[in-house]
């Protein structure tokens, strides 16, 4: 191989690497939607201390949100949407179980999770486990959350998190996500088509 051929080969390698990087950046989010069904799993206590897992909800649709109650904007907005959906489902509401999985369990338990969720809708079940069980639950839903130190936040930290609502089917399959800001009527329509 002469120098020129080496140079061409290197440029081809660079181009291939760039295409690869671009594909990695662009593809995963689209691929996620068409990905084969997977089954999230969790084992987390409710406020009464009873450990709940996916099997407890077989036969029902689950609307799952990962959030924290010290969140003034995203979480109340999404819980309001969920409440509206549950009200508007009417008699079908008992086939849908909304879950709020705390990503800030220690503080949420100290502040009171049940009162908070009941203020939105009595059907919303709050789950708050230890750090390890919470990590495992989030990983099984393939979502992200993280504690961020922030002097301008209450107690000096806030949580960043995937703010979508996740729909799980009666057999435990992950079905889809409703991105943050999906209007309640759109979520309702999707559910009614499945019920």
């Amino acid at each position: 191989m002469n120098l020129r051929q080496i140079r061409i080969a290197l440029w081809i390698a660079v181009a291939a690497a760039l295409v690869g990087v671009a594909a990695m950046r662009l593809l995963p989010r689209d691929a996620e939607v068409s990905e084969a069904a997977f089954r999230p799993a969790f084992s987390l206590p409710d406020i009464a201390g009873q450990v709940r897992s996916m099997e407890d909800f077989r036969g029902r649709y689950l609307l799952v949100f990962f959030g924290f109650t010290n969140c003034p904007d995203v979480c109340p907005t999404t819980m309001s949407e969920v409440a509206e959906v549950m009200d508007d489902l009417g008699p079908d509401a008992d086939r849908v179980q909304p879950l709020f999985i705390s990503i800030d369990p220690e503080r949420d338990l100290a502040l009171g999770l049940d009162d908070y969720l009941a203020a939105f809708h009595p059907s919303i079940l709050g789950l708050a486990g230890d750090a390890e069980a919470t990590r495992a639950a989030a990983a099984s839903f393939r979502i992200f959350y993280e504690r961020e130190e922030d002097a301008a936040a209450p107690d000096g930290y806030t949580m960043s998190h995937s703010p979508a609502l996740y729909l799980v089917g009666p057999d435990g399959d992950w079905l889809r996500q409703f991105t943050y800001g999906t209007p309640a009527p759109d979520i309702l329509k999707d559910l009614q088509e499945r019920l």
Binding site: N70, P72, P76, D115, P154, S160, P163
Partner: protein, 156 residues
């Protein structure tokens, strides 16, 4: 007693109506403020509002103050790559000729250190400070914890 009730009714009705009207200072008008009821006082409350700059020069909302909270701040919900975070916003730009909304999923006032729980039906004052226009105070109605927008915005 009857007179007192009447006086109270007269006092409360106009203030409720005022919430739907714009309060103006210089080129800036502020309207449709609202907040959500809170469960207890330990969690932060929220403040939403619409700001219009009718002038030809840009302005910015640089701060909020209220007797209802010890530490009111401006924040912005940012959803990037599917992850929501809520950084502190040093100021909210209000460009010339534009309307900017502090609304769910975007800029909002975060009211930390509440002096008391916010109950639906109550109201509290918030003073907004603008870089150029100065200060303006609005009375903020506390809506249901499930509220998603100002009833005034819906009525228009």
């Amino acid at each position: 007693m009857k007179h007192m009730a009447l006086a109270l009714a007269v006092l409360t009705v106009p203030s409720a109506a005022l919430a739907c009207e714009a309060v103006t200072i210089g080129d800036i008008s502020v309207r449709h403020p609202w907040s959500r009821a809170t469960i207890g006082a330990a969690r932060p409350a929220v403040f939403y509002v619409e700001i219009t700059n009718a002038g030809a020069t840009d302005d910015a909302l640089t701060g909020i103050a209220t007797p209802a909270a010890g530490m009111p701040m401006l924040h912005e919900t940012v959803v990037r790559d599917g992850v929501a975070s809520m950084p502190h916003a040093a100021s909210v730009p209000v460009p010339a000729g534009e309307t900017v909304r502090l609304a769910p999923g975007g800029y909002h006032g975060m009211l930390m250190g509440l002096t008391a729980a916010l109950a639906e039906g109550e109201s509290f004052p918030v003073t907004l400070t603008f870089e150029t226009a100065g200060e303006v105070t609005v009375e903020v109605p506390v809506l249901s914890i499930r509220a998603e927008k100002s009833p005034c915005a819906a009525a228009e």
